[in-house]
Structures are given as C-alpha cells and as structure tokens.
C-alpha cells in the first residue's frame, strides 16, 4: 500500500456489515425501545426555544453545585453496583455461575438495595453491572426478585429468549430449560417482558398478575395473562403448548425438530433446508440450535453444523449452551475437518467456560489428543499433566502418561 494511495474502504465496510448482521442485535434494540417508551410516558418536554436567562442560569449553576455536592456525598462515584452471596456475604463476581444448593435457597444482595433469592437448585449469573442496576441471566430454576425503585434504575432478568425489564418492583420468575417456559408472578409494581410473541413493545405485567409464556406457545398464539386468582386455570397452558410442539403441529420449526428427535437426521436436515436453513436457525432457541447442529453433523454436513453452533455461541455467550456448542465444534474440527489446532482451541474454550461441566473430563482428554495431533507436544504434555492431576484413572490417563514418559 503506497502512502499516497487512497484507501479502499468498501471491502472492510462489507466486513463490518457482515459482522453486524451476524451479531443479531434486534433483541437488544427491542429492549432499548421498550425502555424508551416506558420512559417517554413520564417525560417532561422542554418548551420550544426557551433559553434560561443569565440570572436563571446562575441560579441553576448554583443549585447544580449544591445538588452535586449532596449527590456526590451520597454517590461518590459512578461505580457499578456490587453484590454478595449467601449468609456469609461472599463477594460476587460478574459472569460467574451462581448455583443454589439442592436443599436450600441462596440469597444475593446488591449494593443498590436490590436482592434476589435463588430457590434450591437454581442456576443464574449476574452478567453485567452498571451504576443503575444489573443484568441477571436465569439459566434454570426460580428467583424471587426485589428491586428498589430509583430514578434511572435499570435492571434486567433474562431467561431463554425472554427479558424482564425492571425499574422497581418485586416478583417471582421461573424458567425451565426443558420446557422452554417462563412463569412470572408480580407482587409489586409493574414490569415489561420482552420476547417472542410478546410484540415489539413487550408485555406489561402489573401487581397481582401472572404471565406464562413458552417458546412453543410463542409459535402458536399470544401468551396468557391472568390475575393470580386465575392461576390454576392457566397453569396447563405451558404443558399443553409444549405437547403440541412435540407432536409436530407447529409450522416449520417442529417439523425438522420432530424428525431429529426421531433420529431421522438426514430427513431433519432436509426439512430444515427446505424451510430455509438460515430462517430455521434464526427461529430456533439455543437448545434447538444445539439439536440442529447435532442433526447436521450426524447427517454428514459439518458446514451446517458449524453454522448452527456458531450461532449458539453468538447468541448465548457465557451460557451453558455456548459451552456445549464449543465442545461440539471441537469434535467437528477434530473428527471432520482435521483442524487439530482449532479443535484444541474449542476444547480449551469449553474447559474455560464450564470447568466443572459434565463434559469436562472428555474435553480435557480430547484437548491432549488435539494438541498432540497438531504437533504441539509441549502443550499436550502440559494438558496431560493437568489431566492426570484431575482424572488419574480417566480414559485418557494412559495417553497422558505415555506423553509424559517420552
């Protein structure tokens, strides 16, 4: 590239557009829209063309300074809220998994006064903290949430494809990964729930109301909203709709899914292709994308499998599904593509994201294999040593010892 030669930006602009398209920002933009519309309802409009006079400006400056001093004393910095967990108040870490024991609940306290009570066996993460609140991802189980209302409070609880926008309220929320169903019971205030079938503005839920919505239901009809007195009558909705999707009634999505669940992988992939693989992928939840990835892999299409799994990685960063996708991508890279360095990277990703996960031993073993196959013997020996410390009798122990005894 010569110094005086104009830069051709077109290829890079296309790169940026590709990356932005793949990032799937729509849900976040919908969330910002819903919050904006909530804010807009109570927003005062500054009259057109009004300009404070110098006197009033001076008064305003003086008042601002005074208020600034007061608020600085109350909130000395714009530091994000912090949190601790359990009765011992262990310091919480953003992104780390919070797992309530199977026999008791786990309290989580936030510095802005908000609190969560995670019911027994619930898994969640605090994925983001700001000076105005936090984002909590409910992976499985039930949370009781109490958020103190303040100006500009911004709390979010997400579960699967659903997001609860909170400004100050108390509610219980349950999420079942298996049923892909969200149940929200509001005790105080109001919240807005965003997600499939809930419309561009989301669904407003008020105190005393209960919202039940599932992905299967979202495919077929609007979610049911009831007051708590009517809870018993609406309880079967989720089960009924889940069963309907399982029977293959839902258009498109469940057809390939049904075939995949029956083990007819080639037919399932054909069904996904016929409805448009990209469209089917976009409509699928993360767990369905994992199934679609496996389906494509078993049907002999590693390219499609990678496409579905990379979408899981993009959509569910930090979640269990993303780690599972990393593991399967490692298998594809090793078994199908013979790209051993890539495989090692994916197995490392799985181990970093779920060090205690159900596939950790297998991933640790396959990491040794991949590094060895890639010719990185030093790394393979290091991984072998780590493996033996953790799994001295594991299935890859012999391979590990062989490497270390070289």
């Amino acid at each position: 590239m010569k110094p005086d030669q104009p830069l051709d930006w077109e290829p890079f602009r296309k790169d940026v557009a590709d990356v932005e398209r793949a990032a799937d920002w729509d849900e976040g933009v919908r969330g910002a829209r819903a919050r904006f519309l909530l804010t807009a309802k109570g927003l005062p409009l500054r009259p057109k063309g009004t300009r404070p006079t110098i006197v009033w400006a001076a008064v305003a400056v003086a008042a601002s300074i005074a208020l600034g001093i007061v608020s600085w004393k109350r909130h000395p910095t714009e530091a994000p809220v912090s949190f601790d967990t359990g009765i011992e108040h262990a310091t919480g870490r953003v992104g780390a998994i919070l797992s309530a024991p199977t026999s008791e609940s786990l309290p989580v306290h936030f510095s802005d006064g908000a609190s969560l009570s995670m019911e027994a066996a619930t898994r969640a993460r605090v994925t983001e903290t700001t000076s105005h609140g936090a984002t909590v991802v409910l992976e499985e189980g039930s949370l009781s949430v109490a958020v103190v209302h303040r100006e500009a409070t911004r709390w979010r609880v997400t579960a699967g494809p659903f997001t609860v926008l909170v400004t100050g309220t108390a509610f219980d929320v349950r999420w079942s990964t298996a049923e892909e169903a969200l149940v929200l019971d509001l005790r105080e205030g109001s919240v807005t729930v965003l997600g499939p079938s809930l419309g561009p503005d989301g669904r407003r839920v008020h105190a005393g109301e209960s919202l039940r919505v599932s992905l299967a239901q979202a495919q077929n009809e609007a979610p049911r909203l009831s007051d708590t007195a009517g809870e018993a009558t609406t309880a079967p909705v989720v089960r009924e709709e889940t069963a309907r999707a399982g029977e293959g009634n839902a258009v498109g999505r469940s057809s390939w899914k049904q075939l995949a669940l029956e083990g007819r992988y080639a037919d399932a992939l054909g069904a996904a292709e016929s409805e448009g693989f990209d469209a089917a992928s976009r409509r699928a939840s993360s767990s369905e994308l994992l199934l679609l990835g496996d389906t494509a892999r078993f049907a002999g299409s590693p390219k499609r499998a990678e496409q579905a799994l990379l979408m899981v990685r993009a959509r569910s960063a930090g979640k269990h599904e993303a780690a599972m996708a990393a593991f399967t991508l490692g298998r594809i890279a090793y078994d199908e593509r013979r790209r051993y360095a890539d495989a090692a990277r994916w197995f490392q990703s799985y181990l970093a994201e779920e060090p205690g996960g159900g596939l950790a031993r297998e991933a640790a073993g396959r990491l040794i294999e991949a590094e060895k196959a890639a010719g990185d013997i030093a790394a393979a020996r290091q991984s072998a040593s780590a493996y033996l410390r953790q799994y001295p009798a594991g299935p890859h122990a012999a391979l590990a010892r062989g490497l270390l005894n070289r």
Binding site: P6, L7, V16, D18, A23, G28, V29, R33, R46
Partner: protein
C-alpha cells in the same frame, strides 16, 4: 434537489477537486432507504417532529422505529461492537431527543440532529470509560462471543476496534463517521458540532494516524492491502 442534497453535491465537488487527504471519493450518506420502515401514521420527519412536540402518544414509537436501528449502529460503531452498554446509550439518545425536541430548528434535519445527540452521548461515554479504564479487553469479549460471520471479517473488525482504542474520542468519532458511516465533511461537521475546516483537519489527522498504525494490525491491514499485495 433539496438544500441538503445541494450541499452534498457542492461539498463533494469541491473536495474532489481540492481535497488533500488522498480520499477523493466522498461517499454520501445513504438517505433513509436503509432505515426501519416508517409507520403509516406519520410519513415525514416534519410531521413526526410536530407530533412529538404535541405529545402525540404514538410519536415516540414512530421516532424509534424510524431511526432506532440506524442510531444503534452509529453508537455501536463509535463506542465499539463489543460494548454491552450501547443499548443503554441508545435509550439515552432517544430520551435526550424527546426532552430536547423543542430545540430542533429544522425538523427536516431530524436524522442528523439525532446523530449529533448520539455522537455527544457516545463521546461522553468514551471519556467516562477512559477515566474508569477499559473493563474487558475487546479481544476477550469477541473470542467468547463467537459469530457466524466469516472469520476473516470478524478478525478484521476486532482489529479495527483495537486500533481505534489508540485514538482520542474526537478523532475516533470523526474517523468512524467519515470512513465507516461514509458521511461527507459537512455531515461529519454537523454531527460533531464542528466547523468544516476543523472536521477536515481532524479527519486528516485521524486518517494519517490510521495509516501509520495499520500495519501493526495484520488482520485489518490485509483488508486494505488489496489482492496485489497479498
């Protein structure tokens, strides 16, 4: 041709003949064709601004639906794709716009006025981030997220935002608006509340710096080097 079209035309001609930056091709911002479809209730920006000033309850939704995606893109490009706070900033841009809609002198310039607010709020955020320090290294966030975009594109974009972290807020913003958004100098100047000559100076400075440090980012460099040099 309206006044903005005429200004685009004049500015483009002048810079194509007299420009010194080596960037003679001056892409003009695509007009509203790539925006989210507008709702049937309000068909043009003047009517929308009038509705917003009259506190029409539907007007804020129309405003967001018309410009939300575009403003989000502008914010995301200025502060960086990997920053999760871009959604909060997007919200803040529209809240600020609603509060200040009375100050908008030319309702037809609604879009560029929104871009100006987005630029202001994004720069404020960049300054705050500088004071706080960058919490998460961008490469870590990208690596964790994964994407279905072509890997070379992902790498190039990741490198681009790493490179931009070496710019100050002002140069970073004019650079993004000029070269990534494809705005002409008048639009850049308007969005950043600068004179055209200051905007031109900053664009030149940013472009020179970009050229200097580009070779240190091979994934990005190869996107600009062209086939001949690969």
């Amino acid at each position: 041709m309206n006044i903005f079209g005429a200004l685009d035309h004049v500015c483009s001609r002048r810079l194509q003949y007299n420009g010194r930056s080596g960037v003679s091709a001056l892409p003009v911002l695509k007009r509203d064709t790539d925006l989210a479809p507008s709702l049937p209730v309000v068909h043009d920006d003047e009517a929308l601004v009038h509705a917003l000033r009259q506190r029409d309850p539907d007007a804020p939704a129309v405003l967001f639906d018309r410009y939300g995606s575009y403003i989000h893109r502008v914010v995301a490009r200025i502060i960086g794709h990997a920053e999760p706070e871009r959604m909060d900033l997007l919200h803040d841009v529209f809240v600020r716009a609603l509060e200040r809609i009375g100050d908008l002198k030319n309702p037809r310039a609604l879009k560029s006025w929104l871009v100006g607010i987005a630029v202001y709020i994004s720069q404020e955020w960049l300054r705050r981030r500088k004071r706080r320090g960058v919490p998460v290294a961008p490469e870590k966030a990208e690596e964790r997220a994964g994407t279905s975009a072509p890997p070379e594109a992902v790498e190039a974009v990741r490198a681009f935002f790493l490179l931009l972290d070496r710019f100050n807020e002002e140069d970073r913003t004019v650079f993004i608006l000029r070269f990534l958004e494809g705005m002409n100098l008048i639009e850049v100047a308007e969005a950043c509340n600068l004179s055209i000559s200051t905007a031109r100076r900053r664009v030149l400075r940013a472009e020179n710096r970009f050229r200097q440090i580009l070779p240190g980012f091979p994934a990005l460099y190869e996107r600009f080097a062209g086939e001949k040099e690969r």
